[in-house]
């Protein structure tokens, strides 16, 4: 008998009184405005910007890029380019070997939605391509429509686009990469981005 059959057999033999599934969890009400989201993002070490208008976005992002990239490589996803137009950024070479992205200074991507409860931004697998980009880049900029804010993780997982899980990964990013493994002292930039900016876009 295979390990699979043996393990499942033991589980069936052990099945107890078959506890019922609890009814759906109903979370308490909470704010879902950009200010509430921004407050949690700051607590996570991220930088909220805005909300800015669609027209004012490119200028503000370019300003952040110049301060962060110091002339280094800046890549923007196709969706981000639609929002930004031309500027100090290049399109992401989507079919590139991810190893070729190790020198990216700033990456600019569009978030699927933001979570007010914890300052996390949902990154769809089709947007974060190659998958390594948002963790390999030195600094990360995410663009987020303020109309796409949800209250909490219950709403966030219920709001996943229907085919979101058919694209290998969907990642919630809450702040820059961090560690506290040395004496519990917080350090930003453990492996991934040293900084994260989220631009809220109005209207």
């Amino acid at each position: 008998m295979s390990a699979r059959e043996q393990i499942l057999g033991r589980i069936r033999a052990a099945a107890g009184h078959a506890a019922l599934a609890p009814p759906r969890f109903i979370p308490g009400a909470r704010r879902t405005d950009f200010a509430a989201f921004a407050q949690m993002l700051v607590a996570a070490g991220g930088e909220p910007h805005g909300p800015v208008t669609a027209a004012g976005l490119a200028g503000r992002v370019a300003e952040r890029c110049r301060a962060w990239s110091a002339g280094g490589r800046v890549l923007a996803s196709d969706a981000a380019l639609v929002r930004l137009g031309g500027g100090p950024w290049q399109p992401v070479p989507v079919d590139a070997d991810p190893h070729a992205l190790a020198d990216v200074s700033v990456a600019i991507l569009c978030g699927a939605f933001g979570v007010a409860e914890n300052g996390a931004v949902g990154l769809d697998g089709r947007e974060a391509l190659p998958r390594a980009l948002p963790v390999l880049c030195e600094r990360l900029i995410l663009l987020l429509d303020t109309s796409r804010l949800v209250s909490d993780m219950h709403a966030a997982l219920a709001a996943l686009p229907p085919d979101a899980l058919a694209h290998h990964h969907f990642t919630f990013v809450a702040g820059p990469s961090k560690t506290a493994d040395i004496e519990g002292v917080l350090v930003l930039g453990a492996h991934g981005p040293r900084a994260l900016a989220v631009f809220g876009i109005e209207g």
Binding site: A15, M40, E117, H154, L160, T171, T179, A190
Partner: protein, 457 residues
């Protein structure tokens, strides 16, 4: 206390500042957990839901495992089943060897620690680099992790500076956590870019969608999963959750209970492999079905490995994780060890607790940890000859008022002598970092008689 705990505790204890630093660092996490819990109005209801959801999932684990396997397979992953640690190690090694993988980056997984995967692969010529900063520190120092989520919390910045000066490109005397972390970042970036394969654990596996959920703050698991073309995820059977709605509850509890964050920095939902890549998922039993068959102890399988019970435990805080001699330290380790442990010493861990119940009070899935410890003590926990003799003696003394009074008189003579420091004091190890409490001087009965004589009611 078990002999191992006693030994390790006396290693940590003479270094006073080290003990204080360890205690402060882990208790700071407990305080952050408390603050996060009280700031979240849903918190207590989430804990209750999590308990009920785990009980349900464990009672239908066969169904959810089959569903997970079917959905993950449909998404392009290959699912393997491992009976025990040797089976897991063989499966992972075969996957790596068949593809000629020599360099592996690994993100934190208590399961592979439990199964001894690293030494197994290393003895077969495969280099395994742990990429979580704390895990890399203990790996370079050739020691096991001492905490579930803070593997190097027993080390000071001076220890780590000296280690990095020896092993990495760091000047001698460097103790700044930011500069030490930067050195590790540079060092590990090279390993990420050169890796042939990535091994990760998983925090949850969603049956409804065949999705693995991997949570980190550092982003090391995400880097590993996104560079090499082979990803092997190793997880215990108990990681299953029914659906995304249940996942939301556990994600809201996990980071709040672990570090006081409302969510960790990276929460990745992984369904199937990347294009042109492979995803292998190994489901591991290694004693878990034995726990499942135990009506009382199966609740321990609800653990989501947040570490809250370690951070609050008076024994863990003072003894450190190495004292347990088991991959998972602290109260949850002592509850799991009798079923998952391999040695008699590990199976004795339920004896190493004060039963104060603080662990139970903080558990996000409401495992009755101290009740579990008591229940293990009533079973066949292996005990030494001295303990058995002492227990029999105590039973005799406590059953007889005369013997009890005699023992009290003897204790009043011996106590002050043992409390003093003198060469050859058999209590010297205890007194090295602790004081015996002040002795009342007279028995309760004597004091009661005195009060009656003085006319006090």
């Amino acid at each position: 206390m078990t002999a191992a705990l006693d030994r390790a505790a006396t290693e940590l204890l003479p270094a006073g500042p080290r003990l204080v630093a360890h205690d402060a660092a882990v208790f700071a996490l407990r305080e952050k957990r408390d603050a996060a819990g009280s700031a979240e109005p849903d918190f207590e209801r989430l804990r209750e839901y999590a308990r009920a959801a785990k009980a349900h999932t464990l009672d239908h684990l066969d169904l959810y495992l089959e569903r997970f396997e079917a959905r993950a397979t449909a998404a392009g992953a290959i699912v393997h089943w491992a009976e025990d640690a040797p089976a897991l190690n063989r499966i992972v090694h075969a996957l790596l060897a068949e593809r000629g993988a020599r360099q592996v980056v690994k993100s934190k997984s208590m399961l592979t620690e439990e199964c001894g995967l690293n030494p197994y692969l290393e003895s077969r010529g495969i280099e395994v680099v742990d990429t979580d900063l704390g895990e890399r520190i203990v790996q370079l120092g050739h020691e096991p992790p001492s905490h579930i989520i803070m593997p190097a919390i027993h080390r000071t910045r001076e220890d780590i500076g000296a280690l990095f000066a020896r092993e990495l490109d760091v000047p001698a005397g460097e103790t700044d956590p930011a500069r030490l972390t930067e050195a590790a970042r540079r060092h590990l970036r090279g390993h990420f870019l050169g890796a042939d394969a990535a091994i990760t654990g998983a925090n949850f596996a969603v049956a409804e969608t065949g999705t693995l959920v991997v949570v980190t703050n550092e982003g090391n698991a995400d880097l590993g999963m996104s560079l090499p073309k082979l990803h092997i995820a190793c997880l215990g059977l108990e990681k299953l959750v029914p659906g995304l709605a249940d996942l939301a509850v556990f994600l809201r509890l996990l980071a709040r209970s672990a570090t006081g964050q409302p969510i960790s920095v990276y929460t990745s939902l992984v369904t199937g492999p990347r294009p042109d890549s492979e995803l292998h998922i190994v489901l591991v039993d290694n004693g878990r079905t034995r726990l499942l068959a135990d009506e009382h102890h199966k609740r321990a399988l609800g653990c989501i490995r947040c570490g809250a019970c370690l951070n609050t435990c008076p024994v863990y805080r003072r003894a450190g994780g190495h004292a347990y001699g088991f991959a998972i330290p602290g109260p949850i380790g002592a509850v799991l060890a009798p079923a998952l442990g391999r040695t008699a010493e590990q199976r004795r861990l339920p004896l190493a607790s004060t039963l104060c119940g603080s662990c139970t009070a903080v558990c996000p899935v409401k495992i009755d940890l101290h009740e579990q410890l008591i229940a293990w003590r009533a079973t066949d926990v292996p005990r030494g000859a001295r303990e058995r003799w002492l227990a029999r003696l105590a039973a005799r003394v406590l059953a007889s008022p005369a013997l009890y009074q005699l023992a009290g008189r003897a204790a009043r003579v011996v106590w002050p002598v043992l409390s003093r420091r003198w060469p050859g004091n058999p209590a010297a190890a205890w007194l090295a970092a602790r004081a015996l409490p002040e002795h009342p001087g007279a028995s309760f009965r004597a004091r009661w008689r005195a009060r009656r004589r003085e006319g006090v009611q």
